[in-house]
Amino acid sequence: MQHKTISEKILSLKAGQDVRSGQVAICDVDCMIANDASTPMALDYFDAMGGERVLQPENVVFAMDHYAPAPSQKATQLHERMRKFAAEQKIHTWEIGQGIGHQLIVESGRVKPGMLIVGADSHTVTCGALNTFATGIGSSDLAAVLISGKIWLRVPESIKVTLRGELRPGVFPKDIALALALKLGSDGATYEAIEFDGPGVPSLTLEDRLVLCNFVVEMGAKNGVFGGDEQTWKYLGTQYEPIVADPRAEYVRKIVMDLDKLEPQVAKPSQVDNVVPVKKAEGTEIGMVYLGTCTGGRTRDFHQALDVLRAGGGPASGVQVVVTPASNQVMQELVADGSLSEFLRMGAVVVTPGCGSCCGTCGAIPGDNVNVISTANRNFKGRMGNGTASIYLASPASCAAAAVHGRILDPREIRPASSGATKPTGANE
């Protein structure tokens, strides 16, 4: 028997036969997700294909996250069409304000190890953190999966990323993701899976792993996947039989990353792999700081940002800080522990949980020629709704440090007042 990667194992299970990388298989889908940006078009394909009933509505979820709340009359009509279909077909729908689909599907406990998950949204890959095969598809494929419960997939070759050591203070999972994007390039994993492994993995919480899997699509990957361990069971509240790679599984490429040597990273405009250490971008003036999205909008992300903002005495004047929690639950946690009040006291703009301004469809749009630093995953020109703005991507702590200083700054330069250090020179000027 040949040895298999995690992706080969999961797809073999779902295909009901032994499949290897390079082969094409028709697989049973366990869970599918779509949003208000992709579903209306999928319903057109569903009708054109002669679809009448969704085969397994219990396996389908819709999230209204891209246009939340609806910024125009047209968007309300897209929502209405989606609601009507969901009601007819008995599909569970997360309404406006509930949050981003990728967060909700994980938070709600729908994602379980060993699943095949497809979503009409490229960041569906996020779910691979829970030992699943999760990949993004378009609206036409979604329609076919709604009707048949199946999808054809080419089994991907895998890149093995071995993580060693532990992150030092001031360095976060987003920095690993950015460093990997630099190493692989924005097309370095096209058609391939990224399998994370190594002695550094146990130190990463499930939420840390969500950040890494979320980002693999920015390197072109079909999916990103972790094994299952204590951190996974802790998050899920119960233990599963993990899908593990065989010791002699074949990989197209092997990469080793030493987490204890990593520095804070930033992706400069307008490519996700245009990455440099934050130190090398220091001094770049920042007008807007965006905290949120499916990459960096979870409770602990806001806590990490708040730690830096608090230590630095709040945002510099003239910097707009935008807070968009990834879900209603995240927002409630921030309310309960006082974090949201603290952000509000600092003058932050708080936006409805959802995708917000990440893709420029709603929320706070940056002004002309403004430099934005964001916890998101894409920095293409025009991505946030204004083609003249420039977008930098970094960890919540690095974003917060830029808010304090009004310029990009290594977050390790800002230390809590109690430790005797103060704001960096030039802050709030």
Binding site: M41, G50, H66, L78, I137, A144
Partner: protein, 164 residues
Amino acid sequence: MKGRARLFGDNINTDYIITSRRKRENLDPQYLRNYLFEELDPSFAATVKPDDFLVAGKNFGCGSAMEVAVTAVVGAGIRAVLAKSFSRTYFRNAVNNGLIPILCDTSGIREGDALDVDWTHSFEIRNRTTGVVVTTEPIRGIMREILDAGGLVPYFRNKGGFQL
């Protein structure tokens, strides 16, 4: 297929092909085609002609999986995209809508070059302007069947599901 090359560079993401905020207002390809590449080349939508080919470098269609980035191109009458590489979601969405994704060395092709593209028999892309000929790999298996059917909708209606 004969047509004219419309040239783009590397890493053309789907937001550059059509911005997310346009599809929020209307999904009709005949509406969306008016805003193709509006951030990159504001003159493109007005100058694109049916049978033009999109010609790009590596990683065409990266970023979001949004399918309007294909249907808006099809809406403009474009039948094929030539690139050194494609993102997997763009490749898949293209096939599903009958837009032919052609993997080939595009580095010698210039804006406006006249191209003959044969993706089914000789697998040659002949540049009639420069005389240079490059080749592409055949598209095989289920993807070829979907393209031959004219896209995923006719494929699915004919077969009643995916078949290998």
